[in-house]
Symmetry: C2
Subunit: 232 residues, 2 copies
């Protein structure tokens, strides 16, 4: 089960650290101090070692971050998925979403790539198969996957930023007209809706909203400026 990455055992000083130990230590630091607290120096401290020792096992800090992400993805649960293709898609994305939501700092890294780590390829396969089973031709299935992924990244990004901003409630991000104190004369709808806004702030509607997007994609929302019509 454990990766059998025996390096060539030449002569010389025997290793005290290992790549896995470095990555585990980094994970411990992130859990304790957050992603901003992750520094090479602190990881070294965690290992009772010197900062430069890490560089024997990871190329640089960026590579350590990627290794951290891989570690997280490998640990995603592997539940059975429902039969129904639409449900299968939603559950598969749910697995990804929930697994990453617990460590939302990964989102920045994640967005760059495509999440095709070997350990999640089965989920991506299931999602694409589900999209095809829902009647989408290959090209549209790929486009749909992309849109669903974009939505997922957005939800996670906002979730992360929201959690991160709490300690600094004194200064809002964008200079804000707190949305509850909007002038009903000039912005009537915003004023009418203000109460619901506050209530919605906390709710987790990821799967519902993802389902809406999925249904819209399956129905093949016709291009802009035209109304929905029956297609296929």
């Amino acid at each position: 089960m454990g990766s059998v990455e025996e390096r060539p055992r030449g002569p010389g000083r025997p290793p005290r650290l290992s790549r896995a130990a470095v990555v585990d230590a980094a994970a411990a630091v992130v859990d304790r101090d957050g992603i901003d607290g992750l520094t090479m120096r602190r990881v070294a401290e965690e290992l009772d070692s010197s900062p430069m020792a890490l560089y024997r096992h990871v190329r640089d800090k960026d590579e350590l971050l990627v290794a951290l992400l891989d570690r997280l993805v490998e640990r995603l649960p592997r539940p059975d998925l429902p039969e129904d293709p639409r449900d299968r898609i939603l559950v598969a994305f749910g697995v990804i979403h929930d697994g990453l939501a617990a460590s939302p700092w990964v989102v920045g890294l994640l967005a760059a790539g495509d999440l095709m780590a070997p350990s999640v390829a089965w989920l991506i396969e299931e999602i694409h198969a589900g999209l095809v089973a829902c009647g989408l031709p290959a090209e549209r299935a790929v486009a749909a996957y992309r849109a669903l992924w974009q939505f997922t990244i957005g939800e996670l990004t906002i979730r992360d930023a929201g959690a991160r901003v709490i300690p600094r409630a004194d200064r809002p991000a964008v200079q804000t007209t707190t949305r509850t104190e909007v002038d009903p004369e000039v912005f009537p709808t915003l004023a009418a809706v203000a109460d619901h806004w506050a209530a919605a702030r906390g709710r987790d509607t990821y799967t519902e909203d993802l389902a809406a997007l999925l249904d819209g994609l399956i129905a093949c929302a016709p291009s802009f400026a035209y109304r929905v019509r029956e297609s296929r």
Copy 2:
């Protein structure tokens, strides 16, 4: 038009810098060196001044970033919006999206807040009014706005990360089975779809996908595990 923020003109040394000058200089630095190149020291250099001079005009670097975001939002275009509520929503989001896509580094900041800067409140109002006009009750209109915003943030996040990653093509983000070299025996759908994936990489389908999400939300995608049925 220009903000008339005359500070009390007491006795003492006359100001050489101003908050606006600092923010403009910061914008110039970001344009030249990217968001990672934005340092207090460089902004000071841009102004032929010392790093600490900036702290008379902005509280700290975070506040400078927020000011930079405000500057950007204020400069969004203010086009006329179409009559049709669905089109109005799509165009309004398009204005926001396109304006921010040109400076995708803002996304991280943006995600934290709610984009209720006074200068875009009119757009947010229009979007909410459009959603209500599409038949959504207040609560669902707010939920829909949130979902559309999440999707927008996701698209921008991925766009930014994709642009940012180019210089380091040597090391993929997540360890990747490049998706074109997937084993068709074990991942048949992925293999079948691989060509379309490469083709889709570059296409900008933001508005189309946003329209799909919007239509799904208007149709009120029923909760998970149930199929679409007629509601209202």
